[in-house]
Amino acid sequence: MTQPSIFRPGRRAVLGGAIAAGLAAPTIGRAQGNVTLRWWSPQTAPAQRAAYMFQIRTFEEANPSVRVAVEATSDEGYPAQMAAAFASGQVPSVVTHLPSFALATYWQNNLLEPFNDVIEMVGPQNYFEGANRIYEITPGQFAGTGIGGSAANMMWLRRDLMQAANITEVPRTWDQLRDTCRRLQRGGVFGAPLPYARNSMTSLIFICFVHGAGGSIFTPDLQVNVDNDAFRNALEFYRAMRELCPPGATGYSWGESLTAFVSGAAATGIYTGRVLANVAAQNPRIAQHVTCHMYPTISTNVPHWTFNDFPSVMIPRQAANMPVAKRFAAHLFRADGYIRQLHAAPGHVLPVLRTIYEMPEYQNNPIIEANRPAVQLMSQAAAAGHNLGWETTRHRPNVRAGQIIASHVLAEAVQRFCLNNEPMAQVVSTTAQRLEQLMRA
């Protein structure tokens, strides 16, 4: 690959930099001889930030010559920021909470440091079974590890509404779900808040349905796999659910879908454990009636499939002070700090370490305690979860997953079939073509 040379800062940069440096010293890390680590994360709401500050403090106390600065990025903006960082060499030391398919893209282009050392420091036996398999993109090397897990397609139910409609059984199959939603849809309440927008949530939820139909987007060898019954059934199911979702679902993303359930406008929900915290804050009235279960599949023969975007930890290869950075990455998993971090978004980010999960300090949180069975279910589901980057245990890692989601191919397939009523054959062939193009690129 030839490199356009204008992008490599040359030796003149040193001189120019020295002159200009006096004008504009970034105000971090200029103390003499100190090591400064930069920690990037897109999850820096006040509650989480407080937890991060604790972790930083304990690390700085244990390592007096090190300072750590947490810098917020965003779920929307990180591609631009990471691109700027990699292209210029000004990379952060540690990046957390990016989805695993972002990791895969960067790993494939040799931008990340192998994480085996850090995993050793954390203790591979402490993890839930198989929690790191998704990161073994190159055999024998780990591209990163998970900072937590999210079971993103849990089905949330309202016990009170079900009781009122005389529904006693939790739906297990799609037919049962449709029936349940239909019966619950009355009095201004809708059955479900599924997204039909042109965004990543629609693509990701649709992938869940394809797996729920017993299929997958790609074969284990990463050949396009959409011209089959599973894909078609998933589309049909998605279309059948349209009438059970609010009219504005054509614009829904994660936030709107969550709020639809939390506010009581939808009788069922499809979301992570964030529901618990939001219900407690925004609609406490229904808190005791909310339960979660695995999302139904097409029939009892098809096992459940959990979507976990695997919020990760990674270290760029160009990071300075690599040994310190690795120590800090491992430090993030130390019990006291890690539990604080998890409690900042209880139920939403679940521990990847079995040892942490079992600790009474972790369990000792009002929301987790009040919803113990739900949290346990989600933790197990997340630990066994997958995403487009690694669809089943038999699949090879798909490093183009991030690009496929960003291209909205799958969301558009949903919109074409469910909203525009385009013929199935056409939708399938267009999608297959575009997926092939993206994989070849």
Binding site: R198, G251, S263
Partner: protein, 300 residues
């Protein structure tokens, strides 16, 4: 423009003139030329965004673009969006300026509030609008249903033509205050005598507007239309956050396509090609615009 006597002074001061414009030119060269040139340069390559490295492909990116229905649809969408939102910005802007030029109670406060859409950050404005548009807990649907205008909540953002209409309306709301400021200022310097003369001649309110006000506003509107057209054409945040380009690509404009290529698909080369195409389109518009203006310039 008032006539300038060709003054021998002018030529002598040419150097001073150049010196005064020099800082601006320097800043442009230093800060804009490099990114501009690199965008042109990158469009000839296949570039992987995070590393900014790739192969030379010549005009392949452009060829792909020309044959891509997505590009042409996005171009069409950009035209529709720009033309309609600009028209509304101008119409609302002039109308609001006329209104705020009259005597009214608490006029200063009214003027401040009218400018609010322009002050507020686009991200925040769009989030609030999404909330207002929401079918379940948004106050717009609720009010319209309460008034009996609607029986079911309307899907403002997820179906066509609603999505494009909503986007155009929010765009007009966001940027029309810019027109208000420009026009309002100009209105205050139109001499009363002109209006009085027109009234004596029997012109009604509309006649006065058409024959007196509008010609006086012409110069301001020329600049305002040009600047707003360029900004609207390049607008990214508003549409991206409101509809994301959906449903399917019905509201995807070229800036959204550039972003998707650059940071979603990690294809900086293709993104640069789209950006250059955008630039060429705007260039053509500018040339046509200036020609049209020169042709209609009355001799002074």
């Amino acid at each position: 423009m008032t006539a300038r006597a060709v003054n021998p002074l002018d030529r002598r001061y040419a150097l001073l003139g150049v010196m005064l414009i020099a800082p601006a030119v320097l800043i442009f060269c230093a800060v804009i030329v490099y990114p501009l040139v690199s965008a042109l340069y990158l469009s000839l390559f296949r570039i992987f965004t995070p590393t900014l490295t790739g192969n030379f492909v010549g005009f392949a990116n452009y060829a792909e673009l020309m044959s891509s229905p997505e590009f042409w649809r996005s171009l069409l969408n950009t035209f529709i969006w720009t033309v309609f939102t600009l028209a509304l910005q101008i119409i609302f802007g002039v109308a609001a300026a006329l209104m705020l030029n009259q005597a009214m109670v608490f006029r200063s406060l009214a003027r401040s509030l009218i400018l609010f859409p322009y002050f507020v950050s686009t991200v925040v404005a769009v989030l609030v609008w999404r909330w207002l548009f929401n079918d379940l807990y948004g106050i717009l649907n609720h009010t319209l249903m309460w008034m009996g205008v609607l029986s079911m909540p309307l899907d403002w953002l997820g179906s066509m033509p609603n999505a494009m209409v909503s986007v155009v309306l929010v765009g007009a709301w966001k940027y029309f205050p810019f027109v208000v400021i420009a026009v309002l200022a100009r209105l205050q310097t139109i001499p009363e005598q002109l209006y009085e003369a027109a009234t004596i001649d029997g012109a009604g309110a509309w006649g006065r507007f058409w024959d007196v006000t509008l010609p006086q506003l012409r110069d301001v509107l020329i600049v305002v239309i040009l600047l707003r057209a360029i900004w609207d054409f390049k607008e990214f945040d508003l549409i991206y956050l409101l509809t994301g380009g959906g449903p399917i690509i019905a509201t995807q404009t070229l800036p959204l396509m550039v972003y998707k290529e650059a940071f979603g698909l990690n294809e900086m080369g293709r993104a640069s090609a789209v950006a250059v195409a955008m630039m060429l389109v705007m260039l053509v518009f500018m040339i046509v615009y200036f020609r049209a203006l020169r042709a209609r310039e009355e001799p002074r």
